[in-house]
Symmetry: C2
Subunit: 292 residues, 2 copies
């Protein structure tokens, strides 16, 4: 969990609630009960904890320690397909050793946000029994922590990363072959995020291509990829009987839907008012715009 | 019609049949009868004319004049999303004034390849009575021949261009608003091509988003956009009763299918062996990979 400073062509916010756990949790909370593990400093605002709690998110695993919360500042390009990081202060995140409360350990789904692969693996190891586990990673871990990441990936059922990361991880330019190589590393389900162009779901012997939802206005893309992940895993978690391929396809669309809402306002603001009826309306609109 | 020299990461061909009319005509010929208007020099090979004729393409409007055929040479980047033009020799194309044979003038559909907007308008003016007309253009005409292009667009029913061209033509970054502005210029149907990411069909009060077909191997993207256009207009022409919105959606998918085949071999080579059964198989595969 983090505070972010963000500038886009539509405006500038110096400090607002952010972080992968925040976005994933908020998006997933529309579909299932969510328990967050994260660390914040003593500057963390009650109002921000209250927003999460108001969505029914369990904060027992939210550690509060002396110091400042992780801070990230960035500026988006005119077309918002690129961003420049202006500042990253790890603060209390630097010493973070995630510990799962006892009540979290039997959850059936585990979604690991983008942090050091060894920490992700340690969290996975704290889970009792069988759960469907997976997560996100990024270019930094792929390049500089490769062995550690590969060991972590062996224990994952699913992986959600973007197209350039799939190519980097596999050292293969063609996306279909790149996906096959990555699935050989462990995850039997791979979701390749392509930003405004949608996502591709790869399973062992099939794939599903979803275009991106076409937004009238993109105010701030921060967190959209995490909201995609939250919608994806949240929808899967709602399918109690175990998810089949049809559920996985719908999970990708719900992921796109949650990512699209995220972009409509700065930071998490859209989730303050977003209703499940709006989510279902957009899902139906998505279907109407892509059916042939 | 042209000869092209092309280099991609998969190989290099010094001289092969190319040009918008060639690709559009070949792709459309799988759906409808095609009549080509174009100019070539006295270097134009009989074998190339025979390939077109073998697909039932009418070449009465193919003008042969003394001199060399238009020549283009380019080199693609490693990921094939970019290309550099190494050479453009207009040759006999420089003085081209397209003239429709009498037998062409009552055709119900007219697809204008990317040439000077005034020439496109002159061809449109040679058609008798009502036909569904439209075509392609490019950044050069948008930037340097804007008034001429706008006059041409007023007479078009449909326009097929890529996303950066839509943004340039409308001076609007957001694609939905950009599309609305372009449709105000004349064409009531706009197809925005997005390369490997698919295409979006815009009509007055709805849109349809199609992802790109995921190819195992892209050998040479040259002509893929023109094959998209050929598949699109060819499929529409096959619907004798006048195309509705459902037909337009399917036309976009057939466009993507024809564009995807084009990339599988160098130049027009894939069309030497491509069968309608393969086209229909890929259409069904497209549906299976995108349905939810």
């Amino acid at each position: 969990m983090a505070y972010d400073g963000v500038e886009t062509p539509h405006g500038k916010v110096d400090r607002m609630l952010g972080g992968a756990a925040t976005y994933i949790g908020l998006a997933a909370s529309y579909f299932t009960s969510v328990k967050i593990v994260a660390v914040v400093g003593d500057d963390f605002a009650d109002a921000d904890a209250e927003l999460l709690a108001s969505k029914g998110i369990d904060l027992e695993g939210l550690e509060r320690v002396p110091g400042q919360t992780f801070f990230w500042q960035g500026k988006y390009s005119a077309d918002m397909n690129d961003r420049e990081t202006l500042r990253t202060d790890l603060n209390v995140f630097a010493g973070f050793q995630p510990k799962l409360p006892e009540s979290y350990r039997s959850a059936p789904y585990l979604m690991l946000g983008n942090i050091q692969p060894a920490l992700q693996r340690a969290v996975r190891g704290q889970m009792n029994g069988v759960c469907l586990a997976g997560g996100d990673t990024m270019n930094y871990w792929i390049r500089d922590y490769r062995a550690e990441l590969l060991e972590t990936l062996r224990g994952w059922d699913f992986l959600l990363i973007n197209d350039s990361e799939v190519r980097m991880l596999s050292a293969e330019q063609n996306l279909r072959r790149a996906a096959a190589k990555v699935m050989d590393m462990g995850p039997r389900t791979l979701v390749v995020k392509r930003g405004e162009y949608g996502a591709i779901l790869f399973c062992r012997d099939c794939h599903f291509i979803a275009p991106g939802y076409l937004l009238e206005d993109v105010f701030d893309p921060t967190g959209a990829g995490d909201c995609f992940a939250g919608g994806f895993i949240g929808y899967l978690a709602r399918q109690r009987a175990g998810a089949g391929i049809e559920d996985l396809r719908r999970a990708v669309i719900y992921g796109s839907v949650m990512g699209s809402f995220c972009c409509e306002k700065f930071g998490v603001d859209r989730f303050r008012t977003l209703t499940m009826d709006e989510v279902e309306d957009r899902y139906r609109e998505f279907k109407a715009c892509t059916d042939f």
